[in-house]
Symmetry: C2
Subunit: 197 residues, 2 copies
């Protein structure tokens, strides 16, 4: 069976994401991480999440001659001018714990007025480097930034992010709960729906 | 009331589209066509609809300092390698009737095997030139290409496009029917839903 499926290259080096894509999309595609084809990461020079996802997907298509799936995601705090935003993973330059500490510090400087934030994930499925109509899906997870971190699940800013309608921090949700609510969960669900069409 | 609404620049010079956006979005925004602010069209050099819509929205944001809405749309025929695609409006270089004639001629060369096609419309609402998370919505209208044109409503390739589940050509639908089914109708409905969020 598997040999008959078309190959979909995943333009990511994050094992967690690759596994998630594989679980959901393996009925339609044979999932192949770009690293297994010798494709390396490119600089993310876009001005928006969608442009970065487009850059990554196109690069993977060009290098492999196959269809490719890319994602880009981050946390946006409007009161901080959109930061950490595109630079969510490299905000402090020193990993998740330091990123969370820097975010808290910058929130304190605002004197707690506007704590709204959202996580965003954009997925791009491109059939070739000049595909005029790549499939683009997006999920946003609205909430606000807490005064102090809590929880040990998840990654990124999950210890500081309290989703709308929740009292728990995102890092206190288990994987299934997070997948059901999260920005990435929504974007992947939509991608699946679009593939079925 | 109106003075309190934020201004949304529409990066389009098409009166029909501007009127449609105004009708639907005027509860949230004061709609202002970019031409009234002295902004002229820019070359659409993107490799995809979404990149062209991003280019147009960003240009309008940069020139006006305000939020901007842009759209890009076209007809994609997979059996023709995606043509007319990004070049839908300028396929023949001589307007709608000549574009339709050229499409028919190119379909004949395929000997009628694969006549599937889809219309696509992508909308981008950008809050500023460096908005990391512009709102992007998309509509696709699936169908196939007829052997001969029929109908006098609509524009573009509507005389040749038979929507899925229809026996009538798109150019035989009245405006309300078309808005309810069409790629642009879907994209605008989604944009409205996203603005309400």
């Amino acid at each position: 069976m598997t040999e008959k499926l078309p190959t979909l290259v995943v333009a990511s080096h994050n094992t967690g994401k690759i596994t998630e894509f594989e679980r959901i999309l393996s009925a339609w595609w044979r999932i192949q991480p770009q690293a297994t084809l010798g494709v390396t990461a490119i600089p993310e020079t876009g001005l928006s999440f969608i442009e970065n996802a487009m850059l990554k997907a196109r690069h993977a298509c060009r290098e492999t001659g196959k269809a490719a799936l890319a994602d880009d995601s981050g946390l946006v705090v409007p009161a901080l001018g959109g930061a950490p935003g595109l630079y969510s993973a490299r905000y402090s330059g020193a990993g998740d714990a330091a990123n969370n500490a820097l975010l808290l510090q910058n929130m304190r400087a605002l004197r707690g007025e506007r704590r709204e934030a959202f996580y965003i994930a954009v997925l791009v499925l491109m059939h070739g480097p000049e595909d005029p109509a790549p499939i683009v899906t997006e999920g946003r997870w609205y909430g606000h930034i807490a005064d102090a971190p809590r929880g040990h699940h998840g990654f990124g800013y999950d210890p500081l992010f309290i989703p709308q309608g929740e009292t728990r921090h995102a890092a206190e949700l288990n994987h299934e709960e997070k997948d059901r609510m999260s920005h990435r969960g929504m974007a992947v669900t939509q991608l699946l729906k679009r593939c079925r069409e």
